[in-house]
Symmetry: C2
Subunit: 457 residues, 2 copies
C-alpha cells in the first residue's frame, strides 16, 4: 500500500491495521515516545509514525537513522498533534536498509547549490520531491491536452544529418575513432556510422511539419540539444521541447491553441498537485498561486511588434536597451509590456531579419507572421509562427540567407504536394516548469542537467 | 471541423452544412459526377465527396489532382454506396494547394521499401497513417497506465559520460573540431563541451533507480541509442524505451506489473484504434486481433530458465541451436516455449553470466533474479530483474566483470543510503509496436529511422 492511497482515503482506513514501506525523513526520540517523519515518495505529504516504549524493541527502533528504509505495521488514527490530520500508531517497525550518519540529506535547510552536487539524492528533499513530481504531472497534462484534441504524438529524430537551424550550435555524433584521426591526420566521414557527418537535433519542427501535412494536428515532446557555451540560469545543453504543428491553421488560430493549452496545463497541475503548488507558493515564489490563477482568468492580449515598440518608446522609462522598430526586444521590455497589459501578451508580426527562414512572410515584406507569448514574471514562454507555405517565397528566403537547398528537398516539397496554410509553435518544457514552480534555475528543474563542463550521472 | 468529429457524431450532422479542409487521396470522374476520396488525417476513415455537373465550376473540380489540399463545403448525407455510411454532397470545392502528376503517393500499392525512400510522405498512405497513429495512441496508453498508478515520469539524461553498460556501442558526442585533431594530432578532452568524453545513453535505468528510491514508483519513456552495426529487421540506432523502476518490489511483483501494463496497453489501443487495428488484421497480419484478444484473456506462465531448458531438451525437435543449461535461448526456443504454454511466458532466474551486473544474485550463486517476457509471435518483448540491493555483492560482481567503481559511486550509494529491494524492467517501444501492428520491420514503425548508413531527414 502507498501513503498516497492511504491519505486520499483516510476515513476508510481509520482504525485499521496497515503496512507501509518507505523512508525515515526525520526522527525525534523522547524517553517514552518516538516520532518518525515517514515518506514513501508517492505523495508530497509525509506520515507521522508514533511509537511508545511499550514496544519490546523500543530501544532498537529509537536507533533507526534518518534516510533508512523501513517497513512499518500499525494503525491509522486521527492525530491530535498539529501539522497532520492522521498519524500511525506503530505496532512493529522492521529496518530494511540502514543509513549511515554521513548521509548528506539531513533534515535541515540545504542550499540548492549543495543539492546540485548531490543531484541523485535531491528528489528525497521536499523541494525537489515537489519539483520533479510537478515535472511528471505537467508532462502528462501536455500529453492529455493534445491527445484529447486529436493530435498525433510524433517522435522527431534526435540524430540528424541536417543542420539548417543549428549551424555551429550542434553537438557532433560520431563513431569515428578520434585517436585514429589524430594519428592518421585524416577524417573519412564515409566511414562514420551514418556514412556522413551527423549531429544532435536542435528542433523537431521541420520533421513535425511532414506529420501535420498528413494528420492535420501533430505534436512533438522530446529532447533537443544546444551546444551553446552559455552559463545562464535558463540555458541547458539538453532540454525537452513541445512542438505542435497544425495544418489549415493560421497565426490567429495558433494563438488560440497556445492560450487554450497553457490554461489547460496550469489548471491540470493546480488540481493534481495542490500540496506541491502550495509549497512553492509558501517557500519558493510568494504569490505563485495568484499569478497562475490570474492567468487562468485572463484573456491574452494580442498586439504587433510594431505597436509594442511604440508603447515602449512612449513609456517614461530609462531603458538599458533603447527599444527600436525592426529589432528584438530585451528582458526589460518584456517585463514592461506584460505589466502594461497586466497579463499575458502575444506579440505578433516580428521583423523578418531576427526570425527564422521558415516563417510566413507578411505582405509588407518587412515582417513575418511570428508570435511570441510573453507572460508576467517569466517573459517569453512560447514562440510560434505561421509557416511559409509558398514554395517560391520560401526558396527565395533560403537563398537570401545563404542556405543550401540540398538535403532540404523534402521540406520544400511539402509546399508542392498539397501544401496549405499551417502553423506551429515551440515551448521549452523547462521554461514552463520554471514558470509553474517559481524555481528559477533550469539546473533545478531537470533531474540531471547538462551544461558546459557538467555531465554527471 | 475535423472528419473525426464529423464521423463520430454523424447522426448529429446529417443533413447539415459542413466545411472541411483536407487532402484528395483519390479522384474518380464521370461525365456527370465526380467522387473524391477525402482525408484530413484526423481519423483512419476517409470521407467520400460527391459532386455533380450542376456545380458551375464542375470542369475545374474534375481537374483537381490526387494529393491536393482542398476546402470543401457541402452537406452530410447517408450514403447509398457501399464502403461508407455517410458521404458529403458538395456545394463548393476550393483548391488550396495543388499537387503535380509526379507526386509519388498515388492510389495504388506501393512497396514498403519504396515508401521508406519517401519516408516524409508515407504517413499519407493507409498503412503508415495507421502505424503512426497507433504509435501515438500506444505512447498515451503507456503514460496513462503509469500516471494512473502513481508513477513519476522521469526524463533520463541522454548525453552521458558514464559508459558502464554501453562500452563499444555508444555514439560519441563532441564539440571538438575533428579537423583540428587531424591537423594537430592531439585530442584534448578537457576542451570538449563537457570537459571530458561523452556519449549517447544506451539506457536510463541506473538513473531511474535514483528516482525509484525517492518516489517508490518511476518510469522513463525516452530515446536511447545503440551504435551497433547490425542491419536486421529489429535493430535501429535510435529507439524509444520505457523503463519503470519500483522500490519495495521483488521479481514476482515486477512480473505482476508487466502483465498488468501490457494488457492495459493492448486493451487501450484496441479500443481507441479499432479501424487501424482491423486494417492491420486484414492486410498486415492475419489473426492479429485474435492474438491480442487472446493475450488479454491469458494468465502469463511463470517458469525458470532451468525448467525451460529441461522442456526444450525433452522436446522431440531438431534444434538449430542445441538448448543448454547456463546458456541463452535462441529464437526457435522462444517460439517453442510460447507455443508449448499456448500464451505469454515469463522466464525467470537466468544464468548470471549472460545477464547484467546489476541483477540480484540468487542464493544458488549461479543465477540472477531476471525475467524475460516471451510473447507468441514476437519472442522477447520485455526484460526485467530485481536489482542487487546488497552493496558488497554488487561491488564484488562489478570487480569480477572488471568494471570500474569510479563514476559509479552514486549508484553504489543507493545501496548504502536506505537501500531496499527494488526491481524494474525495460520495454523497447518499437518492439511493442511491431507486436501490436504486425508490421515486422522496425524501419516501418519509426517515423525517421536511423540505421547504419541511414540518417535522412
Amino acid at each position: 500500500m502507498d501513503v498516497k492511497e492511504l491519505l486520499e482515503d483516510a476515513k476508510k482506513y481509520e482504525g485499521k491495521k496497515i503496512t507501509l514501506s518507505g523512508w525515515v525523513r526525520n526522527h525525534r526520540k523522547q524517553k517514552e515516545f518516538g516520532f518518525i517523519d515517514f515518506s514513501d515518495g508517492t505523495c508530497f505529504k509525509h506520515l507521522q509514525l508514533v511509537y511508545t516504549n511499550k514496544l519490546k524493541d523500543f530501544d532498537e527502533i529509537t536507533k533507526i537513522k534518518i534516510g533508512s528504509s523501513i517497513e512499518v505495521a500499525g494503525t491509522l488514527i486521527k492525530s491530535e498533534g498539529s501539522g497532520q490530520d492522521y498519524e500511525v500508531t506503530v505496532s512493529k517497525i522492521k529496518l530494511l536498509g540502514d543509513c549511515p550518519d554521513e548521509y548528506p540529506i539531513q533534515p535541515k535547510r540545504h542550499t540548492r547549490e549543495f543539492l546540485r552536487e548531490e543531484a541523485y539524492l535531491r528528489p528525497r528533499t521536499n523541494l525537489f520531491q515537489a519539483v520533479f513530481r510537478v515535472r511528471s504531472v505537467a508532462a502528462m497534462a501536455i500529453h492529455t491536452y493534445f491527445q484529447e484534441h486529436g493530435y498525433v504524438y510524433f517522435h522527431a529524430p534526435l540524430i540528424t544529418a541536417s543542420d539548417c537551424e543549428g549551424a555551429g550550435q550542434m553537438f557532433q555524433v560520431t563513431t569515428l575513432d578520434l585517436n585514429r584521426i589524430a594519428k592518421s591526420g585524416k577524417i573519412d566521414y564515409s566511414k562514420d556510422f551514418f556514412g556522413k557527418s551527423a549531429g544532435l537535433t536542435v528542433s523537431g519542427q521541420l520533421e513535425a511539419e511532414t506529420f501535420a501535412l498528413a494528420y492535420k494536428k501533430t505534436y512533438t515532446f522530446g529532447p533537443t540539444f544546444r551546444a551553446e557555451n552559455s552559463n545562464t540560469k535558463t540555458h541547458a545543453s539538453e532540454f525537452w521541447m513541445i512542438e505542435p504543428e497544425i495544418a489549415f491553421c493560421d497565426l490567429s488560430g495558433v494563438m488560440d491553441i497556445e492560450e487554450d493549452m497553457l490554461k489547460f496545463i496550469v489548471k491540470y497541475v493546480l488540481e493534481k498537485c495542490p500540496d506541491e503548488m502550495n509549497f512553492f507558493d509558501q517557500f519558493v515564489e510568494k504569490g505563485l498561486l495568484d499569478k497562475l490563477n490570474k492567468l487562468l482568468k485572463s484573456k491574452f492580449t494580442r498586439i504587433s511588434h510594431h505597436d509594442v515598440i511604440k508603447i515602449l518608446k512612449e513609456a517614461k522609462v530609462k531603458w538599458e536597451f533603447e527599444p527600436e522598430y525592426g529589432e528584438d526586444i530585451a528582458k526589460e521590455h518584456e517585463k514592461y509590456i506584460t505589466e502594461y497589459f497586466n497579463g499575458p501578451v502575444f506579440i505578433t508580426d516580428w521583423p523578418k531579419d531576427i526570425k527564422a527562414f521558415y516563417m510566413k512572410q507578411n505582405p509588407d515584406h518587412e515582417t513575418v507572421a511570428a508570435v511570441d507569448l510573453e507572460v508576467p514574471g517569466a517573459g517569453e514562454l512560447i514562440g510560434g509562427s505561421q509557416r511559409e507555405e509558398d514554395y517560391d517565397k520560401l526558396i527565395n528566403r533560403m537563398k537570401e540567407l545563404g542556405m543550401e537547398e540540398k538535403g532540404m528537398e523534402w521540406y520544400l516539397n511539402l509546399r508542392k504536394y498539397g501544401g496549405c496554410v499551417h502553423s506551429g509553435f515551440g515551448m521549452g518544457f523547462e521554461r514552463l516548469l520554471i514558470y509553474l514552480t517559481g524555481v528559477e534555475n533550469i539546473r533545478d528543474v531537470i533531474p540531471y542537467p547538462r551544461t558546459p563542463g557538467n555531465c554527471e550521472y
